[in-house]
Symmetry: C2
Amino acid sequence: MTPGEFRHWAHKVVDWIADYLERVEGYPVAASVEPGQIRRQLPSKPPELGEPFDAILRDVDAILMPGVTHWQSPNFFAYFPCNNSGPSILGEMISAGLGVQGMLWATSPACTELETHVLDWIVDLLGLPADFKSDSQGGGVIQDSASSATLCAILAARERATAGQSNQVGVRAPLVAYATDQTHSSVEKGVRIAGLGSANLRLVETDGQYRMIADRLGEAIAADLAAGRKPCFVCATVGTTSTTAIDPLAQIGPICRDFGVWLHVDAALAGTAALCPEFRFIHDGLDWADSYCFNPHKWMFTNFDCDCFFVRDRTALIRALSILPEYLKNKATESGEVIDYRDWQIPLGRRFRALKLWFVIRSFGAAGLRKKVREHVALAQELARWIDADPRFERMAPVPLNLVCFRHRDGDAATQRILDKVNGSGKIYLSHTRLDGRLTLRMCVGQTNTQRRHVEAAWRLIGQAADELAANRTAES
Amino acid sequence: MTPGEFRHWAHKVVDWIADYLERVEGYPVAASVEPGQIRRQLPSKPPELGEPFDAILRDVDAILMPGVTHWQSPNFFAYFPCNNSGPSILGEMISAGLGVQGMLWATSPACTELETHVLDWIVDLLGLPADFKSDSQGGGVIQDSASSATLCAILAARERATAGQSNQVGVRAPLVAYATDQTHSSVEKGVRIAGLGSANLRLVETDGQYRMIADRLGEAIAADLAAGRKPCFVCATVGTTSTTAIDPLAQIGPICRDFGVWLHVDAALAGTAALCPEFRFIHDGLDWADSYCFNPHKWMFTNFDCDCFFVRDRTALIRALSILPEYLKNKATESGEVIDYRDWQIPLGRRFRALKLWFVIRSFGAAGLRKKVREHVALAQELARWIDADPRFERMAPVPLNLVCFRHRDGDAATQRILDKVNGSGKIYLSHTRLDGRLTLRMCVGQTNTQRRHVEAAWRLIGQAADELAANRTAES
């Protein structure tokens, strides 16, 4: 592909993307293909000769698109959102065009410095502790996901707890980590990866609103200490995956500090809400945290992947992850005046991800971001009121932000049929969880372009599914 | 930004990228800014109100571009390449536009199925063992980097060696890993992350050409076994970072098999050469490997991040990384008929990265990819002959593929001055290593658009720097 051909096709692709985003609302939200349906249409052998790009783009439409689930549809209410936006896509485009690899400051200083700068902005935008800023002992870095950020936090905690020895070498007392049964699965994954072992992850009891009971945490830590184990890491969650429950940081923090245990706060979805002063209560007690992460790729309109990970003291993190072979040595690194983000993450290489975050913040402005968040939260609160007023449905958890959990009062079977019905319609997409053993629908209002009319239509559709359920029962009886 | 504004600015950005790629040859390859120079030009506070996109794009040009090192310049010979290409950028654009999150098959079937399909193509394209195909017990997955792939291999090896127990729980014998002092630093990083500890990484002796001596590996494993430790993981390298040395897989493999140790093969840069039958000797003995990775984002013209990671038996990998919380359960997963790639990697979420790889393979065609690789290898071989014929320089290692290692015969100081001189000129960018304690220049011919004239000009520039060195010495004496 010559430079001229690239220019030609890139303009075509821009129109393809713009058309897609204009039409995405009309697509069935979740793909309804069968396993293997996409692959069956692809040739079994790679082409020997190059193909014209129009043939490739035709196959994107004809073969791939029926198998795409439309995360950018304003009717996407499943899981947590994974949003893009115009400025973010433009950032990804320039990042792809520059093709910079920012493993070291020296391998593209702008990549590192913009990242540091934008993460300092984030501290201001969200009202995070000043200790997370780069002019302190701490700082921030972009990770691919909260899973990776959490793993890095576990590794830093392990480093601090073992004074640089791995847990295998020289440490007799097993390291122990603490979370709840509402904590994201990435914490158990990280605990396993780091070699602590799932058996050394304690699930602390939660209260009636799925929040960690701080007293139980204290008791669990004391019991492990008494048994000769070494408490090492606590993950508190601001906005759990099932219900956006908010663990009481202000109570958990002092316990972690007293016992010298690393406190990581996972606010993957909910952190974005702190753009708005009225929602900053979610971070009450965050001053106690050793590390923190949230995902602009969820609710801050920035393409996946973009997780912002902050540490209060970068020493343990860098000690855990830094290895400096000769072929990476350079004068800037030796000067000590620069950040080399390769030492703050699992991989060595890194893309220029700060661009899209910078574009989003500048293009929306702080006020524009807050407006979106407020709209989403207001819509979710309104939906919660509709549910509360409807005798067919039962709300299953508080709605501190933009996720509403509810079920049909007739139980799991009815709830499952409603889920299958509305998702099968292609008009909306919800996901589910289980709360106290009961099947629960999750409806998260957070897609970039979701407006009142989408939430209203979704609620009508859910109501119709419940009506049909009742009608079928009447007919059957 | 409205959809119409996005369309408008995306067209502008396409022209910006196309202009950049047409002009990139004219930029100073390595940025020459001082630490802090970029940040000082950025406002300390984020904007309260949204800014017009033309202001943002102007700042990209005025503030960021002087701090960008041009990895896409055909005069970039440093490190290993990190290439993009027209079709790959188009793939990144569509991936960003769709904004799909492919953690599960069910969350976008096309994302998973295209990835499986293209990785099967890669097995054919590179002549890899059939056991790496998805219709066997094994299969492939796209990782962000070889570092992450290597970590996953270590975790699968640990899983197999401990029968599912972490190394901390229930395993008394320390797990041991093996590499050489030429192995990439990511192996030590992975060994640390997984909790084996750097002290349990053995660096096996290399021969005069920096290749692992298989007999020494066997002796090291036997000694660890005798001492009550548990050998667990060997990393052999096809194309080491310092010199592209190729460890003798055909000798290492049987030793690993005999001792039941996991053999991972890291071919991050060099793997791409196997597109060409005449270079497949690099993979002699790969049939013994339990896992393998190479990076299309290095030498196969596919934007970072794109590492292809293959395993012979996916069971241990999935067992090491799979956790299935309620909120991710779905009928497709329960059917057992689909792949959920979240279980094959560290993070949970994932982008639609197969698109760019598919675009590259289809747009270049196998023949087009081979042509590029052959040109690069031929140019590097020619450069090696020029160096061999020049009495001022000494070649420091064999050149099996596209990396040439050499030094000035006057020693480290002269070599350093040449490196500083040519890199300071902005006309080319080389990097360095140390071989047997001696400073060595690394010149890798592999950027997508590097042609004969670029290598010739680089060699002239290096020669001029040596001439100036000699002239200065004469003047001083």
